[in-house]
């Protein structure tokens, strides 16, 4: 019972805190009057902008927004890649060498795309300089890039100019991500998370053996990992490790931290379009999907494997951190896949098939809050498609937020729809065609299919979690997953920005009784159905062959 109450309390706290941060995000990204505490940042930001030669003027074309995004991201990536390939000895107490090129490439792209899929064991391959200068740096800028895109799209849908990418990136960092991470890091520090540059601790275990405990500047790393929906662990065990997630309270707070910025983004959207009812209904929709998934996963984990129930009681304990238990691990798995964080506090590979089904479903939909900033944009795409499909049924060219949905919008929205299957199903099919023993698939049958599909879905959705039984440290995995990472990040971003730019140029129409209202319960329900049909129906065959077949086999 306790996990359910905690989960309910947690979601209630998210609902209560989202409008607070939502108002702040609105102020930051719509240039509203600032609260006193961050007013002093303005000269700093404009100084920085001047230093890189930027005027800060809003882009007047999609390219005007996208080009700075691509250039800056390429630069960030190159810096990180260099640090990984030539790991210097400075701040590298264990003297780790450079990474193999394909692993370095995958790791860089993975953190650059806000995914944080890790094909390496960080505490055994990365020194503190790489962790801070490459990994943590990319965590901040990739989350800021996502937020910038999300708010550029929101601006487009509310009829404003798209904005200036550099300015958005800076403000996302200086006024949202850095202060929030510092606060969260402080809390984690107090809760016992290390924040040190000292070398690993050498201890003698109770059995008298020697053990090295890797330490590092984990608290801040952990904070941005959760808040920025990054998910890459400082240590391989991720949030199941006591240094990353020491107590039940830190576990709950870090679950809250994954949800708060995306929930606040939806709230801010309502403020942008001047229709809080619209954003509240979208929040209800997303929370509904999240709760449905959480109930399935938590119940499945608590029930455990029916074939083992005569021997083991207490649910599915394999791959669980006992401090958190089955229920809260199920909740964490749902939230981490829904929000595209990808942090884990237990092994998803060892979870029940229904939990894996929930996780995959979240990865396919990409809107159960979805990626930092981009999740909101995906939600708008699905709402737009729902308007287009059902809006015709009221007998006029569909309108969304007062703007007509016409060919250009449908083209861009459909393109977003096409990208995910392309970068998930095709590489998965290629990998599976090699057979069970090839490519390090550690399970035969349905679970093997889940492992492979999950890996690419996680990469293309920029999530980062994985069914880690997979031997994914090979050039094949590094390179093929890199393609999915890039395709799943930058193609949708380009399409979303182009879509938003087209929308903002349309005249805003006054609603009439003949206009299909999108801020109603009915339409929210329609959006949910369209979301599931368009977003997940494509993946139904692989879901059926993977987790569904596994679940049915267990049940029979």
């Amino acid at each position: 019972m306790l996990p359910w109450l905690l989960a309910a309390a947690l979601l209630a706290v998210v609902v209560l805190t989202a409008p607070v941060l939502g108002r702040h995000l609105y102020a930051v990204f719509d240039d509203r009057p600032q609260p006193a505490w961050d007013r002093w940042l303005t000269p700093l930001e404009s100084g920085l902008l001047r230093w890189i030669g930027e005027t800060g003027r809003p882009a007047d074309s999609p390219w005007g927004y996208l080009l700075p995004l691509l250039i800056s991201n390429a630069l960030f990536g190159l810096v990180a890649l260099a640090l990984l390939v030539w790991q210097p000895t400075w701040l590298n107490p264990l003297g780790f060498g450079g990474l193999r090129w394909d692993l370095a490439l995958h790791t860089t792209l993975s953190f650059l795309t806000n995914t944080d899929q890790q094909h390496l064991i960080p505490e055994q391959s990365l020194g503190n300089l790489a962790q801070l200068g490459a990994m943590q740096f990319l965590m901040f800028v990739s989350a800021a890039t996502g937020l910038a895109v999300g708010f550029a799209v929101i601006r487009g849908f509310s009829g404003r100019p798209l904005g200036n990418f550099y300015r958005d990136l800076l403000r996302a960092l200086s006024r949202v991500l850095i202060p929030a991470s510092l606060l969260l890091a402080l809390f984690l520090l107090v809760s016992g998370v290390p924040m040190t540059l000292a070398s690993p601790l050498e201890i003698t275990t109770l059995e008298g053996g020697q053990q090295w405990l890797p330490r590092g500047p984990i608290a801040l790393f952990e904070a941005i990992k959760q808040l920025g929906e990054n998910g890459g662990g400082f240590v391989s065990a991720n949030a199941a490790h006591p240094y990353e997630n020491p107590t039940l309270l830190t576990n709950l707070v870090s679950t809250w931290a994954m949800l708060i910025i995306p929930a606040a983004t939806i709230d801010a959207f309502g403020r942008f379009v001047g229709n809080r009812r619209q954003s509240s209904l979208l929040l209800v929709l997303v929370f509904g999907l999240l709760i449905a998934g959480a109930v399935v996963a938590m119940a499945a984990e608590q029930a455990g494997n029916p074939l083992l129930s005569s021997w083991i009681s207490g649910g599915n304990l394999q791959g669980k951190e006992l401090r958190f238990g089955t229920g809260l691990t199920g909740l964490y798995a749902t939230v981490t896949t829904g929000t595209m964080t990808g942090a884990v506090n237990g092994a998803i590979d060892a979870a029940m098939p229904l939990t894996i089904l929930t996780a995959l479903f979240n990865l396919f939909l990409q809107v159960v809050f979805g990626g930092q900033g981009t999740g909101m944009a995906y939600l708008l795409v699905f709402a737009l498609l729902a308007v287009f499909l059902t809006g015709l049924m009221v007998g006029r060219t569909p309108e969304f937020l007062g703007r007509k949905v016409e060919k250009a919008q449908v083209v861009w929205a459909s393109l977003v729809l096409l990208i995910h299957p392309l970068f998930v199903l095709i590489p998965a099919a290629l990998t599976l065609a090699g057979g069970p023993s090839w490519a390090g698939i550690s399970n035969p049958g349905s679970h093997g299919i889940s492992q492979v599909v999950y890996e690419y879905a996680s990469a293309a959705a920029n999530n980062g979690s994985g069914l880690e039984g997979l031997g994914d440290g090979t050039p094949w995995w590094n390179l093929s997953a890199s393609l999915s990472l890039l395709g799943g990040r930058y193609l949708p971003i380009a399409a979303l920005v182009a879509l938003a730019d087209g929308v903002r140029r349309k005249p805003a129409l006054e609603p009439s009784p003949g206009t299909l209202r999108t801020d109603t319960g009915l339409f929210t329900g329609v959006t949910a159905v369209v979301l599931v049909i368009l977003g997940a129906l494509t993946f139904f065959p692989v879901l059926a062959l993977g987790p569904i077949a596994e679940a049915l086999t267990l049940a029979s």
Partner: protein
């Protein structure tokens, strides 16, 4: 302005609409046969490739046919016994294609039949062309060019569209309008000054300036339009095609990658079953019916005796936010009738009647004639000898008309302020009582016409406006659909206000000039609204061109017809409201069938997936308890094929439109086509499965 002839139609439609059809109803028998033949002809890959969704089905059919002939073509392990199943799947796929082609051919058929009938009126004729030096030469009608001057005499077929530059004649226009009563054509008249090629002049002689090159005349345009030769996809249709193509692409990826994924479980499905899954998932229902819906929409407009220049115009009708309507002929009956004489300045009603008679004896408008009738009823006689008097026509500048008797006495009637000015200019005095009469009439919603005899003001004629029965209900419906109505009238503001209130329009513009029309349209468009209007006069042409939907009356001028994107052959301005409904119906039908088609996928998954991977442990997903895997796949395919002809009547007739609010419409259509689309295939597939079992097909 009050007695403007601009809105008076020389020929108002008569009789029930069905009997006014200009073309015989195409015979059903011929249509079906023609459509069946066309359905096979459209299997030609060069034609099939135009529809991406159905082209995927086409490719799948070819593949399955090949696998029927040689089952081992792609899989050496396949047994020859699969040939029967492959053949059945190929047949259902072929049927799907043919049904879709049939739907399109059936929709085109009507238009083609109408085009054939129109072509028969287009026999080549000889024309008498007048050369610049005045001499006449006989040329073939196809040799006429724009700007040529020709003479036509009684009995001739008019060789091409043109403007009358001299002469008066009656013309039989039944070939295009179905109206058997001849129409008077004369030079210089705004409305009666244009003739259409293919119509027949009955008597007298006209001199015409040809206004259209051969092949570009009104009838040629009509033929091209009803035949669908110029049919280009409408914006919404293009957007929907894009979405359907992308969905097809997505499902193509999903199915194509399924083979290796299932191969990992050592259970690779056969190619034919994968094709079946693909065809079941891609939106074939809407893909097959999409073009038929568009063509049928154009055809429904044509059945209303309206010729639309493009499907885009019909679709735009559904989006219209504002209707700009002329009061006269649309909201009120075209003819205002004299109801009462209100004398002023001490004159009696009888004296006023005599002067009004005098001012109206040359006025051939229905209003003028009604004044004469009322005067005669009151026992008035003409105060002068008509043969020696001369008539003064109404003009928009003077806003009055009347007659001058042989002894120079000026009888005038017209807008109250115009007559006031006239009386003052002749040195007369305007009695205060006039303004009371003016207000009295205006408050009744009538039009006051002042009457004077030289400098003496006699009084006011009360012209009663009769609001068309049922028009208020129609405006209420429009309001519920979110459409605003704006009434334009030349009446004074008080009269206009009264009529507007009685008719239930949302807004009105009184004392409107043609320029006001454009101003109103531009103002609405600036707010992002789509505006529809009707018009007939030459001075309406700019407004017709400015409006998003301009409907010209067939009785109108050539300029108006060219500027408009629809021409109403019945010249009934009320029809704009019907056309809006058709436009909405077109969009609703498209949306409803798309929703239905996509919602069907859920049931199809539950039929095909467990069958496809029988050995993987997905039996629990076989919620319909279908007999065998092969029967399940075949049932889904048969359902997929049969649903197309089952929906053809709906596609051609259109979803019934109800004037409800968007929310109510959405709720209703979602229930019928969304929920129905989820449930129907579960029932349909199960029934087909039972039938297949009973027939022992597999």
């Amino acid at each position: 302005m009050p007695t403007s002839t601009r809105v008076l139609f020389p020929r108002m439609p008569r009789g029930p609409r069905q009997e006014r059809r200009y073309l015989e109803r195409p015979r059903q028998q011929g249509l079906l046969q023609r459509a069946i033949v066309e359905a096979f002809r459209k299997l030609d890959p060069r034609l099939a490739v135009a529809n991406p969704v159905m082209f995927v089905v086409w490719c799948g059919t070819v593949l399955c046919l090949a696998l029927t002939i040689e089952p081992r073509l792609l899989d050496a392990a396949a047994g020859a016994r699969e040939r029967g199943f492959n053949a059945l799947i190929s047949l259902t796929l072929l049927a799907t294609l043919l049904f879709a082609n049939f739907a399109e051919a059936l929709a085109e058929g009507r238009g083609k039949a109408q085009a054939d009938a129109l072509r028969r009126t287009q026999a080549r004729t000889q024309a008498r062309r007048q050369l610049p030096d005045g001499s006449i030469e006989l040329v073939d009608s196809s040799a006429l060019r724009r700007g040529d001057v020709v003479l036509v005499q009684g009995g001739d077929v008019i060789p091409a569209d043109g403007e009358v530059i001299a002469g008066v004649a009656s013309v039989d226009e039944s070939a295009i309008t179905g109206e058997s009563a001849p129409v008077l054509k004369e030079a210089g008249s705004d409305v009666a000054g244009s003739v259409t090629g293919g119509t027949r002049i009955l008597s007298d002689q006209l001199t015409l300036r040809i206004s259209a090159d051969p092949g570009k005349g009104f009838i040629d345009r009509m033929i091209a339009l009803v035949e669908g030769a110029e049919r280009s996809k409408t914006p919404n249709e293009i957007a929907l095609t894009v979405l359907l193509a992308v969905l097809t692409q997505v499902f193509l990826i999903a199915v194509a990658t399924l083979s290796p994924v299932a191969g990992f479980l050592q259970k690779p499905p056969s190619v034919v079953t994968l094709v079946a899954l693909l065809v079941a998932l891609i939106p074939t229902t809407i893909g097959g019916l999409l073009s038929a819906i568009g063509i049928a929409g154009m055809d429904r407009v044509a059945q209303f005796n309206v010729i639309a220049t493009s499907g885009r115009a019909v679709e735009a009708c559904g989006d219209v936010n504002t209707l700009v309507l002329d009061k006269t002929g649309t909201i009120t009956l075209g003819n205002r009738l004299a109801e009462e004489f209100l004398p002023v300045g001490g004159y009696s009603s009888a004296e006023l009647a005599v002067v009004a008679y005098g001012a109206s004896c040359f006025d051939q408008t229905p209003e003028g004639r009604s004044i004469v009738r009322l005067a005669e009823k009151l026992g008035a006689a003409l105060p002068f000898e008509p043969a020696s008097a001369s008539g003064i026509d109404f003009s928009a500048r003077t806003r009055m008309s009347g007659s001058d008797s042989a002894d120079g006495i000026e009888f005038r009637k017209g807008a109250v302020d115009a007559i006031k000015g006239f009386v003052r200019s002749r040195g007369g005095v305007v009695p205060d009582q006039l303004d009371q009469c003016f207000e009295q009439v205006s408050r009744l919603g009538g039009t006051p016409l002042a009457v004077c005899r030289g400098a003496e003001l006699y009084g006011v004629i009360y012209l009663k406006d009769i609001i068309k029965p049922g028009i208020r209900e129609r405006f209420d419906q429009l309001r519920r659909m979110g459409i605003r109505t704006v009434m334009l009238t030349g009446d004074n503001p008080i009269t206009a206000g009264v009529i507007a209130r009685e008719a239930g329009v949302d807004d009105f513009i009184a004392e409107a000039t043609p320029e006001d029309k454009i101003a109103v349209i531009q103002q609405e468009q600036k707010l992002g609204k789509l505006v529809a209007m009707t018009g007939d006069g030459s001075n309406d042409a700019p407004a017709l061109a400015q409006a998003n939907v301009g409907v010209a009356m067939n009785s109108g001028t050539q300029a108006a017809k060219e500027a408009a994107n629809m021409v109403d052959l019945d010249s009934d301005p009320t029809k704009l409201i019907d056309i809006v409904t058709i436009g909405k119906q077109l969009l609703i039908t498209r949306g409803a069938l798309t929703t239905f088609s996509i919602a069907n996928d859920i049931a199809k998954y539950f039929a095909i997936l467990p069958a496809l991977f029988a050995g993987v442990g997905l039996q629990a997903l076989n919620v319909m308890r279908l007999a065998s895997p092969q029967s399940a796949i075949l049932s889904a395919m048969v359902f997929n094929a049969l649903i197309i002809p089952a929906l053809v009547p709906l596609a051609l007739k259109g979803v019934k439109f109800r004037p409800l609010s968007a929310e109510q419409l959405l709720r209703r259509n979602l229930l019928v086509y969304g929920a129905g689309g989820v449930v129907a295939p579960f029932i349909g597939i199960k029934l087909i499965d039972l039938a297949i079992g009973a027939l022992r097909l597999i």
